[in-house]
Symmetry: C2
Subunit: 206 residues, 2 copies
DNA sequence: GTGACCGCCTGACAAATGTCACGGCCGGAA
DNA sequence: TTCCGGCCGTGACATTTGTCAGGCGGTCAC
């Protein structure tokens, strides 16, 4: 038998991380060589342990999974990346693929399929949930401009326009205008609704 | 050796559910006899398989984990309940304990401790993260009245006051007043902020 | 070059939101 | 009983929010 596939696991929830390790260790051709809980630990640990495939969660402290994907692909091109995420948000898939991910799996998929996804990614194939891929293509890229995204992202905290304007160094009128544009583009009724829609589509990463 | 502890797993994310099953099956004295993905499947499946301990996630479709706890304790009192949740929200812990849960574990805890938690719960002990327990006591119960909670819960969708008033069969002024009270009690600046705070504390379950 | 277009920025105005003071209702304390 | 306090419901008022028309600067096609 050939050498087993060496895996790095990155997930901020220790219980999930450990459980995934147990699940994947059941496969004789897979071995977990590293586990980290933060996005900014991915590259150092990968350089130290030299995994063949990295399983990265999107929601992580320090550095989100998409940014970690880009950093890891740059630092260790031989290591494939399989993004594993809770939320099947179109924007996440798009951004992850643009960042160089080789596969994208949501945590709803049956456990038995995970090992196969790892093997396919390791073999150089792309792994993507077909339904999510279709939704991503249908949704299209984010219609929001950079400033609109930034304003909406800041508005998540629930502050008033005056506060947003202060932190962004803009006039209140400008902030209101960006918010209005975002509301229109997302088809929302509200600032709060616009935040919800944009977040659900994965347009507020970062 | 005595009979192994029989487990029921309830989590809406198939991958996490399967991974937890793999993790717990490594222990010789534990055996997973049932897995469900929805809260409303917990009681029927438990009645069919007769587990000793049920591991329930809080966030589930059909019936949330707290309601499932209450239903399970009523339908099968011999089965202990260990609630396993992503978010360490004070309100969740309080509500779960009031519903009759025997233990409460967040998904941040190390994987090795999960099996011990199961054994302790099975032995009749209570298992609670001390830090979360302290935070729960410090935070206290929800300061929101029933109506305020209901209005705030409905306001999550991001609708306008007129819509809220229509769905709740109230006057617009009344809705505004409840929202204002909720904003004051949560220390928020905004309706949106109040929703965030209440949700973070686990005050909007249901 | 120049015109069309797009994103960014801003102030004025209408519409919504949040605050306040008030009255009715119910349950417990004096 | 009567009083008190909490919750619910409501309308009037000030504040905040969302919309609109418009000015400025850059880029691309022609």
């Amino acid at each position: 038998m050939t050498e087993p596939i060496r895996l790095l696991l990155a997930d901020d929830q220790a219980l999930v991380r450990g459980a995934l390790a147990a699940l994947l260790s059941l496969e004789p051709d897979l071995t977990v060589v590293a586990e980290v809980s933060r996005g900014d630990e991915v590259v150092p640990e990968a350089l130290r342990t030299g995994p063949d495939v990295a399983l990265l969660d999107v929601e992580m402290p320090g550095l989100d999974g998409v940014a970690a994907t880009a950093a890891l692909r740059a630092a260790l091109p031989s290591c494939r990346v399989l993004v594993v995420t809770t939320f099947g948000r179109p924007g996440y898939l798009r951004r992850a693929m643009e960042a160089g991910a080789n596969g994208f799996v949501v945590k709803d998929t049956p456990a038995r399929q995970l090992a196969d996804a790892v093997r396919r990614v390791h073999a150089g194939l792309r792994v993507v949930d077909p339904a999510l891929a279709a939704e991503t293509l249908a949704t299209g890229p984010s219609p929001l401009t950079e400033r609109e995204t930034e304003v909406l992202r800041t508005a998540r905290g629930g502050g008033t326009v005056a506060e947003l304007a202060a932190t962004l160094h803009l006039s209140e009128g400008t902030v209101r205008n960006h918010l209005s544009a975002a509301i229109g583009k997302t088809g929302a009724r509200n600032r709060a609704d616009a935040v919800r829609v944009a977040e659900a589509n994965g347009w507020l990463l970062g």
